[in-house]
Symmetry: D3
Subunit: 129 residues, 6 copies
Amino acid sequence: MDDQRYIRGMERFREVDGKGGEKAVKDLEGLVPEIRRYIVEYPFGDIYSRPGLDLRTRELAAIASLVSMGGCEPQLRVHVHAALNVGAKRGEIIEVILQMTVYAGFPKALNALYTVKDLFEKRDLKSKD
Amino acid sequence: MDDQRYIRGMERFREVDGKGGEKAVKDLEGLVPEIRRYIVEYPFGDIYSRPGLDLRTRELAAIASLVSMGGCEPQLRVHVHAALNVGAKRGEIIEVILQMTVYAGFPKALNALYTVKDLFEKRDLKSKD
Amino acid sequence: MDDQRYIRGMERFREVDGKGGEKAVKDLEGLVPEIRRYIVEYPFGDIYSRPGLDLRTRELAAIASLVSMGGCEPQLRVHVHAALNVGAKRGEIIEVILQMTVYAGFPKALNALYTVKDLFEKRDLKSKD
Amino acid sequence: MDDQRYIRGMERFREVDGKGGEKAVKDLEGLVPEIRRYIVEYPFGDIYSRPGLDLRTRELAAIASLVSMGGCEPQLRVHVHAALNVGAKRGEIIEVILQMTVYAGFPKALNALYTVKDLFEKRDLKSKD
Amino acid sequence: MDDQRYIRGMERFREVDGKGGEKAVKDLEGLVPEIRRYIVEYPFGDIYSRPGLDLRTRELAAIASLVSMGGCEPQLRVHVHAALNVGAKRGEIIEVILQMTVYAGFPKALNALYTVKDLFEKRDLKSKD
Amino acid sequence: MDDQRYIRGMERFREVDGKGGEKAVKDLEGLVPEIRRYIVEYPFGDIYSRPGLDLRTRELAAIASLVSMGGCEPQLRVHVHAALNVGAKRGEIIEVILQMTVYAGFPKALNALYTVKDLFEKRDLKSKD
């Protein structure tokens, strides 16, 4: 195992995905024991550790991608939390999704706005961010 | 016609899409005479004129969306030029596309990297940006 | 604001989407206060107000699109109601979805047939259309 | 072989797809000898022979589907010719594609408008329809 | 009706899809009375009866397709049962889905792994396969 | 760098993708210097090196995925060569693509059959496989 990359990846993974990502990984380890390493090393240890783009922009791009593909609501939720974790504002997340009406069409974008609305309301019940 | 929105939209449209967008619109006006108004008013006059997100991030999100849907090479080219027009760096565009290996898979992301490589090379023949 | 277009768009919006569309818009206005204007003006005030295609065919085309993209069940429900509102028959809606087995494959089309079956049964509990 | 369905399907296939479809099938018969039967029997002998929807609406729905999936330009061309063959007007085809800006986003719809523009121009060089 | 093909198709359909497929068909017969014939004849009587590829590989390819399109969870469930019915091992199904992280991206593949994990756990409550 | 994984990945990469893959990587190294490592380590060093599925089935699943997403013709070509490299027969590749008429619809599958027909003819001009 490439220890350095894994350690760097885990740091990034914790910073970005937080508890939501941790739970997602844990749930799958019974099925694919190596899944933590796969998710941590390439996406986080390699890609998210590259210096050329800040994490906030990366997470907004991830949200644009998930909305445009459609059918990825659970991942969209994880990445909306992640975007907030790395400094994106709620308003920016809404802007990116709203902009997707232009690129991916109104249905996928409206679908995503409902998902995000629900998520924001639940987050507010606990505390304000 | 909503003059204010159209005027605001045309300004934004010229700032973002430049000559590439102008040519794209002109080519279609014979087929759909209202197409300029449709492209200018909602996407640019409404969405791109919203204050909550800077144009550089909007264009990087557009690129993430186009790569993730696939099959939109002509639009990807327009938006890579657009991203450069509004201040994104080449390296940031490459980062967003490379990140899409994680979200949309290697085939769509590699496809897009070839498109961008070709575009950068042609742009270099004229002048450096 | 372009009053004429908005007024024309609201008429078309009410005619096509009815209560389902109204509820969908209301649910999002807390998140994006301008969402009603965005949904009403371009899609309904511009596109659905164009004279070259009847609303029944437009709604059947919308259903074909939603089934082919997949993952848009809530929007499919809104547009099946909409298609019935503007004069499409149940049999025609079923034909369009069934035809999508050929274009978009059996999984997406069968998915949509289940959604529609469920919707028809609920509609029948209230009244016959 | 189910002769009746095949004969019925071939009639429908010739009526709808004409020379473009015939060429498409011939090109693949060396690779998959049964491809003619597969294309003729289920799509045309079964689905397109169902009485509940006219061929013009079926072809406009096919165009909506192809535009929404993206990346199907050769099939889009075949079906634009087919739509004209079964009585759709050019203006109606343009309306359906333009409407897809709302459902599938501007990039896929604009892509399709370019394809159709090119096709209409080539058709005009031969004769007017 | 093409009796031979239907009979051959029903055999294949029962062998592959088993009870899950039978239920899926029954649920739709009220809506589309011919749906059983459509699902049985072309997909099973024609395609799945072709000699050039074994059923196990066909079902693993079906799973790869469903994961890559996304938004087809109900069909994915049917085909995971089907893959097990025709001799694929659980480990092989997991490998195909995990491989889709490379081709279709992590979100769709992880989505599918959750679906499969849930299905395997329910299957284990009844008996071991 | 994780030497072992890279070495194992390069072996697998050469075995599967051969010259086509090598050229694809080389073309992108000017743009993303680390691209060879990214393509080799996770997809080949991790995933394709897992023992639970043979390379022939992996490549047939890759083809099913690429056909189903659509718009990935260059990658489809690389993977058809790859499938042949690891022991899949031409007939098996055709079967998988033909089967995608059922899952992903006729347009994407026919598109892919044309791509493969063209590739087989070019391969035959050099030598028979």
